[in-house]
Amino acid sequence: MIGALKNLINRLLKNLFGKKKEIKLGLYGPPNGGKTTLANRICKDWLGEDMGEVSNIAHETREIQIKEQISIKSKGKELNFNLVDTPGIATKIDYEEFMKAGLKEKEAKQRAKEATKGIIDAIKWLDEMDAVIIVLDATKDPYTQVNITIVGNLQARNIPVLIVANKADLKKADVKKVQAAYPQYSVIGISAKYGSNVDKFYEALFEIAG
């Protein structure tokens, strides 16, 4: 409660005493939802380059990655921000799961160690964000406790949120289920990999961060 109040006062002061130089736009969500794929899509569309590596093995992004000074345009408006790609948030890390995915024991243990640190960093960075895109895999259950906890935290901190139901191109995807799970937020179904519906996504970005 005190944290939320502090955050609100900081925001009010920032609005009163001058325009902020740069908006920090964070990508949050569980592992393998497609945060880095979306970061790459945004960077490719507006900077012409990728942001990070993607992989089918969970926890590929284990460090906070920042791409500065991205400028996007939609319907005659311009939005400038620093994009912050964060490691996927999970409540458990087991190196044996990485071994099942094909990694050797030493690599798996190292990946697990880095992944735990990445999650701690991602949580620490929550307070730094001005707006957040939560990237969920539309083929999976949106009601998981990790998702609910992330959304609840952002709500408590009064940080604007846009929810992306990614992988909407897949047969098993259910964007409506994601919308039903979080009716208080804008939910946009996209395919970050193939770029479908990203125009709507960029328009929605202006709503939360513009």
Binding site: I119, I120, T149
Partner: protein
């Protein structure tokens, strides 16, 4: 054998956030499943995840977490406002928080009034 430990809200009521989280993690690290009356603050839930990550070592692989609050859905207007007010003053005693060690609890599924707790042992038996 799976051991559950019930933690009534009054046991954490007077503790600061860090001590609340530590108390719960300490129980989970004893391979027990915590059944906490009510729920933690939203910020404490993320602290719980962060502390669980810091504690991962050896057999401790993190936690499974579920918060069940059947009354939360469907509350609107004055009733919601009233509950939020009392929760802010007295703490959130409604519902139930389940925290289990990931080495024992594989998954917790909730269906607002039904809880399914899948243990690793259960999977082996199938």
């Amino acid at each position: 054998m799976v051991t559950f430990q019930f933690v009534p809200y009054y046991e954490i009521e007077d503790l600061g956030s860090a001590r609340r989280v530590k108390k719960l993690i300490d129980i989970v690290k004893q391979n027990k499943i915590v059944l906490l009356q009510g729920r933690l603050k939203k910020e404490e839930e993320t602290d719980l995840i962060a502390i669980a990550m810091e504690e991962i070592k050896g057999r401790f692989k993190g936690i499974e977490l579920a918060v069940i609050n059947p009354e939360e859905k469907g509350q609107e207007g004055l009733k919601k406002l009233r509950n939020n007010f009392f929760n802010a003053i007295l703490g959130d005693r409604q519902g139930l928080t389940i925290i289990g060690p990931a080495s024992i609890v594989r998954d917790i599924k909730k269906d607002p009034t039904k809880i399914e707790l899948m243990t690793k042992e259960a999977r082996k038996k199938r």
